[in-house]
């Protein structure tokens, strides 16, 4: 096979959804292996690791995100039914949820106010631009909600989506450390906290690392935080006089 033929083959393959679907799965499988080899540290979370590898690869072969997403959308699409499926662990642990309902609601509201307040305060102190500030505000909720809220309060939706993902991976890295320092041991509490602060990343992390109870509470927190933020954030932003 000569170079010209290989060029043609590459043109064909890179325009085909098959390639990006394949590299996504292979990168993730490799990331899981690497993570395991490194002792399962959440600093090298499989998602962070595979995202970094894939971004590096796309830059290397000069493939744009739209082309990549044409194949990867098949994986992305499954996020919808997976979110719906969170109702199953929630149903399994309904007794525990019912017992903890009021503490959970209270913690959720305090958590949202802490997240938004500290985000806006710190970013303003550090001199971030207004549109960055308003895109940062909804960063702890799941990306489809964050994008809608950012648009509503005057931020940049696509930037908000990116910041949501960064928040998710940072949350999974710092959470085990915070839980250890504060001696938070109850899996339900750990799960709920992760879902509130780090949305779907936190929920996935809770399922994979802590267990089904933590995963169920994390899913609950993610849904609840998303719902409440969508209503509370526009009010909070107006309250601090930014909207």
């Amino acid at each position: 096979m000569n170079i010209a033929a290989f060029d043609q083959l590459w043109v064909y393959l890179s325009g085909n959804p098959l390639l990006s679907l394949l590299i996504t799965l292979v990168a993730f499988a490799a990331a899981v292996r690497i993570n395991r080899a490194l002792g399962g540290s959440s600093l090298f979370h499989p998602v962070t690791l595979s995202v970094a590898m894939l971004i590096g690869l796309l830059l290397l072969v000069d493939m744009d995100y739209a082309t990549y997403f044409e194949g990867a959308q098949f994986i992305h699409f499954l996020l919808g039914p997976a979110t719906v499926a969170l109702a199953i662990p929630l149903y399994d642990h309904r007794e525990k949820v019912r017992q903890l309902l009021w503490p959970l609601l209270l913690a959720c509201i305090v958590g949202i106010i802490t997240a938004v307040g500290s985000t806006l305060g710190l970013a303003a102190l550090m001199g971030a631009k207004p549109e960055t500030l308003l895109s940062l505000a909804p960063r702890s909720v799941t990306s489809p909600i964050a994008m809608g809220v950012a648009e509503q309060i005057g931020g940049i939706p696509s930037l908000a989506a990116g910041l949501v993902l960064l928040t998710g991976s940072i949350g999974c890295v710092v959470a085990p450390w915070i839980f250890r320092v504060l001696k938070v041991r109850d899996p339900a509490v750990q799960g709920f906290t992760l879902g509130l602060a780090a949305h779907g990343f936190g929920t996935a992390h809770a399922f994979a690392r802590i267990g089904a109870v933590a995963g169920a509470f994390s899913g609950l927190a993610m849904g609840l935080t998303g719902l409440l933020t969508a209503f509370l954030l526009p009010l909070l932003v107006r309250l601090v006089g930014m909207g």
């Binding site: 993730f28 979370h45 499989p46 998602v47 995202v51 894939l54 971004i55 796309l58 830059l59 995100y65 997403f69 990867a72 959308q73 994986i75 919808g80 039914p81 997976a82 979110t83 719906v84 499926a85 109702a87 199953i88 929630l90 399994d92 903890l100 209270l106 913690a107 305090v110 802490t114 997240a115 500290s118 710190l122 550090m126 971030a128 631009k129 960055t132 940062l136 909600i145 509503q152 940049i156 696509s158 930037l159 990116g162 993902l165 991976s169 949350g171 710092v174 915070i178 504060l182 938070v184 906290t193 509130l196 602060a197 780090a198 779907g200 990343f201 996935a204 995963g215 998303g226 719902l227």
Partner: protein, 120 residues
Amino acid sequence: MPLIMGMSVLLACQFLGELVTRGWGLPVPGPVIGMVILLIGLLIWGKVPGSLRLAGEGLLRYLTLLFVPAGVGLIAHFELIGKDLWPIIFTLVVSTAVTLAVTGKMLEQLNRRRNRRVER
């Protein structure tokens, strides 16, 4: 067949969720409403059908993988993030840590107080 039945139930709930959010113009994504619909359905039905559990738990086991395509989307925001890099990184790390600490500690305290009351 069970996998197909389970997947159909999940997609049907998502579809109903999308209808509700679009129909009423709610600022909430369809799948979140779909989750609420499925939960209500399960509470009425009284148990989780085997087919639904097979499809649902299969998806949840690989939940982390499903975030990868969106994560790669960061590639489109390098320029924007670069302009405000340090404020963004500092804010994200500190604020996420504070949120985790406040929520975790508060819930743990509320939980402990409740348990003590139950024991008494």
